[in-house]
Amino acid sequence: MKKTVLILISILVAVYIALTLFSVDNEYVAEKMLYRAAKTNEKITANPDVVPPSMRDFVEKSLQKILEKYPETDAAKATRFALAEFYIYNKKYDKALPVLDTIISAKDADKMTLSRAYFVKGNVYERQNQWDKALAEYAILRDKYNDTPLGMQIPIYIGNYYIGKGDDERADRAFREAAAFYDKIARENKGKVMGYTALSLMRDIYIKSKEYRRAGNVIEEILEDYKAEIAMIQQLPYVELVFEKSLKEPEKALEIYKFVRDNTKNDNLKKLLDKKIDDMSKKETEDGKKR
């Protein structure tokens, strides 16, 4: 009995040792190291004032070790961003920039990675109050990576930066440029998701700059070109905001609600719109009588 149990335990130990020795997987080891470093970094960011310096050292050394020992792994790509963000958080901007440059210069980097790297690089300059340099990075992002989420949104980000600084004139100019940028993308990608996103962002810019007539035109264009149900549903709150509340054109809103109702297969939406149309029609009749 004892002998059998000992044999069973020995087999388990032997299998464990064998698997540990033969499981040489750099990707796994790198992922594990990255996870541990990220966990420690989480603790640092939760309580930055009370953590011992050794914790910061551990994170930095772990991330650097991954890059040195396992540079070819997928985990190394994530590690570079983690290291850059670690430096940014700890205000070591001079150390963050070379890491970001390494990401940008990598031959196998995909568009999403590159767009993120340019954005973070711009952010580093922004934190150092070097807006011109930041703007240069954001311009690359806008011009070369406008088919990525970050590249698509950067023109609005630039406008918002000026608003934050209280520079209304430059903000207006930035938003006008942004609108022209989205208009171009929308024309080039009509009927595609990218075209829809560009129009939506253009609509948001016009609403933000209180150009409601233009915003209304964009909404109508979206409804005309993008008849997917989700696209129509997404426009409804803007129809209310722009046509009913801002432009005071309830008849136009009513026309759009009827259009959406007639083109949707969603029964709940139909019911909702029927009620809205009824209420608006009654109100219109009452207003007519009063007049």
Binding site: M1, T4, V5, F22, S23, D25, E27, Y28, E31, K32
Partner: protein
């Protein structure tokens, strides 16, 4: 007729296991198979095993679960499935062998390894069928538990104060654990009846249910109290993902290993107690 005392059964069972530890050996083999499986599942997240297992994990769990730490988070589900396979294919057979050893020891018969194995294998099909039935019953109970949990949760949010809601999952886990023990009360004697009285599967199942009904209190205590050792492990299993997030992902493995290590002792004690109970019941009837 004087009732059979639970204390008396436990003393006899414990004494017998200490005197003839070979009774527990089949349960150690089950634990060994489970531990070996756990090792393989753990290492399947990295090469070379990942080359074979990776595509399967990707298909059933998604790309994310092939990377650390999510490959560790997937282990309980994979291991749970493999535990069921082990239980059906080997668990019932090995438990039957253990009960057979107990029977021979009690009858003063010699313990011949080949004869015990041959005896067990001759009814392997019935044991596998019992394993499948038990798994289906447990899965049904789990589904019913999940359904009840969602229904009661909806009601509890409306009517129970926030403080009660904090301990509510714990209370519900305890209730589920109790329901599991009650279910086992009606089916636990099936295997001992099949081995000791050589009853066919369906007859043994029916008799086990009747035994549970007629001797509910005794059988329930025989099952429930040793099973209580599983309760903290069950709770830990339920909290393992949260614990992994707060401590380290490998804690999931340690919790599963704890469950594997507890199994031979708890299961052996419960089954042999039930066998002892059946034996004493039979002896009293004869008298």
């Amino acid at each position: 007729m004087k009732k059979i005392s639970v204390r008396h059964i436990w003393i006899n069972t414990f004494g017998l296991i200490v005197k003839k530890p070979v009774i527990i050996l089949p349960f150690f083999i089950i634990a060994f198979l489970e531990a070996l499986t756990l090792e393989l599942v753990y290492f399947s997240g990295r090469n070379p095993l990942a080359i074979i297992v990776g595509p399967i994990v990707k298909k059933f769990f998604g790309e994310g679960f092939t990377h650390y730490p999510y490959c560790i988070y997937a282990i309980p589900r994979v291991f749970n499935f493999l535990q069921i396979v082990i239980y059906v294919l080997a668990g019932t057979l090995l438990t039957a062998i253990s009960i057979n050893i107990f029977k021979n020891v009690k009858a003063g018969l010699p313990l011949k390894q080949n004869a015990l194995l041959k005896n067990g294998i001759s009814r392997y099909g019935a044991f596998v069928a019992l394993g499948i039935i038990m798994v289906l019953i447990m899965l049904l109970l789990e589904k019913a538990g999940g359904f009840a949990f969602s229904k009661f949760t909806n009601l509890s949010i409306k009517y129970l104060p926030a403080v009660v809601m904090k301990i509510y999952p714990l209370v519900f886990a305890a209730l589920l654990f109790l329901a599991n023990a009650i279910t086992q009360t009606f089916f636990i004697a099936t295997l001992p009846l099949m081995v000791m009285d050589k009853k066919p599967l369906l007859k043994a199942l029916l008799q086990s249910v009747l035994l549970g009904l007629r001797n509910f209190k005794t059988v329930f205590i025989l099952v429930f109290l040793p099973f209580l050792l599983y309760f903290p492990i069950t709770l830990l299993k339920g909290l393992s993902v949260q614990l992994a997030g707060k401590m380290f992902p490998e804690i999931i493995l340690l919790i599963l290993l704890l469950g594997v290590l507890a199994t031979p002792f708890v299961e052996c004690f419960v089954f042999i107690s039930i066998a002892q109970f059946l034996l004493e019941k039979g002896e009293r009837k004869e008298k």
